[in-house]
Symmetry: C2
Subunit: 298 residues, 2 copies
């Protein structure tokens, strides 16, 4: 028994004729006969009375007809529902990301999402956390991913993934094979920092603060305007720095850079999926949020 046979069966009942039904479903009459026979063998009972004048369903046939019609109606419903769903999954979606997620996490995620829904036109806005949150508040950004929690009542946030900040050193550095160092050891090491206002710098400052230390105690040898610049500087042996492992994942995989922990310093920070509390999400934005959670959240 399958939907196709049930469809043929229903047509036979409605047309009161095998050959008429065959025409209606674009099959030959013997094919219709064999499908009805199949059904009758399956249910072990006659379903259609082959009367001389017309083909009429038996009691069992009428019983089946009711179920068959409902099943076929459900199939049609499913078809339209899925098509509607597809229809909603097109158009544009504006996604915001602060430096780290916007630079290293969202491009790949958006790429995969676009593969699933090729119809969409995604836009990624990369800016600092405050600007992204402002964009979400005013509605220019539907979904954001930022590295800090907001206290704004209009903002709804959910933890997405942990961003591991670790001490990054070049492969030829003495600490290259080391798992972890003491904070005291780091103080004398040439250290590269990001510009004031950087979220990463803020995280480092907070962590040091919790240990009663300050950024000023480090041996700062350079201040760079971007994560990329810091990465290059480390590779060039100018110094070491604390960076998101997301930003240097390629270097870590290839072995060009090494990541180590600093004893007693918790440098993990959360990345938060961020949206407006009241504003309703477009189906597309909802799907993207779900996509992120499913693919990244643990």
């Amino acid at each position: 028994m399958n939907l196709w046979q049930l469809h043929i069966f229903c047509r036979v009942v409605e047309c009161k004729s095998f050959s008429k039904a065959a025409e209606a479903v674009h099959l030959s009459q013997p094919t219709v006969s064999s499908h009805i026979k199949d059904l009758e063998e399956h249910f072990k009972c006659l379903l259609i009375d082959r009367l001389s004048k017309e083909a009429a369903p038996t009691a069992a046939g009428r019983l089946l007809y009711g179920y068959a019609r409902r099943m076929l109606a459900l199939r049609a419903e499913a078809e339209t529902a899925l098509a509607q769903h597809q229809g909603k999954m097109q158009g544009s979606i504006v996604i915001g990301g602060s430096t780290i997620p916007g630079g290293y996490l969202l491009p790949r995620a958006i790429g995969k999402f676009k593969l699933r829904y090729p119809q969409i036109r995604p836009a990624l806005i990369v800016a600092d956390t405050q600007r992204i949150i402002a964009g979400v508040v005013e509605g220019t950004i539907e979904v954001g991913v930022v590295g800090a929690e907001s206290r704004d009542k209009r903002i709804l946030q959910e933890h997405l993934i942990a961003d591991q900040l670790r001490l990054i050193v070049p492969v030829n550095h003495p600490w290259s094979g080391v798992k972890a160092v003491l904070l005291e050891q780091l103080l004398s090491e040439p250290f590269i920092v990001r510009e004031r206002g950087s979220g990463t710098l803020k995280s480092i400052q907070e962590s040091l603060g919790r240990q009663g230390r300050s950024i000023e105690e480090l041996n700062i040898v350079a201040e760079m305007g971007s994560t990329e610049a810091v990465r290059q500087a480390i590779r060039d042996g100018i110094g070491v720095s604390i960076l998101s492992t997301l930003a240097v994942s390629e270097d870590l995989e290839s072995g060009a850079l090494k990541a180590l922990s600093i004893e007693g310093l918790n440098l993990t920070r959360g990345l938060y999926i961020t949206r407006h509390r009241q504003r309703s999400l477009s189906p597309l934005a909802a799907a993207f949020e779900e996509f992120l959670k499913k693919n990244l959240q643990r």
Copy 2:
């Protein structure tokens, strides 16, 4: 899209794994993969997220899952409903028939009915109309077919088919090729009658009565105890008679006997399907009644 693929799809959703689902439906994992792929191509969208940890339905997949479950539930319902129906269609059924229907109509009908429901044990009681109706009243007979209407309030009757009473003559008779004769011509013709009390005789008497004639005016040469005996007597050239065409259909087809009308004499009588007005019919008896109506009623 078909029920089998939907079933596989549901199992994948429930097992959260292609290979587990494959095991559950006794298929290989690649076969499951290809069915899911089929569905996804059909709906032109991803239905299952192949996450590293588990397979989870997408939004579209969850939508489909709802419909699929309902369709599969309906299929299961249909299976049990049809099986139950079959279950009811067994056991015994007592059918009553007066001479003509009991002798010439019901045996073949019961044979065909038994072919449809091989599980049943039908019993046919042949007796005169009064006894059949009495049997229906007292409940020993579930369904009867008789050649007369009953005035009993407990009896429910429905016209089933017309029984054509016609003048039957042997093939070598002078009237053999004739379509109809006048009643006056018949009066002198050697005529065979059934015994007193026969339904057929009663019908003939009534018809003659409506024309202001009586049976006594006929040239009665013999009185026979059964329709079969009359039939043989006609074939043997003893005389002609008025018989149900049902009783001599074989002879009429083979050409051994001929049937003709009598001008101005309406010899048609109804055969009535007969059951108790209050007593509820067994599913089997109801099916038999319906079977008779569908196959004979016009």
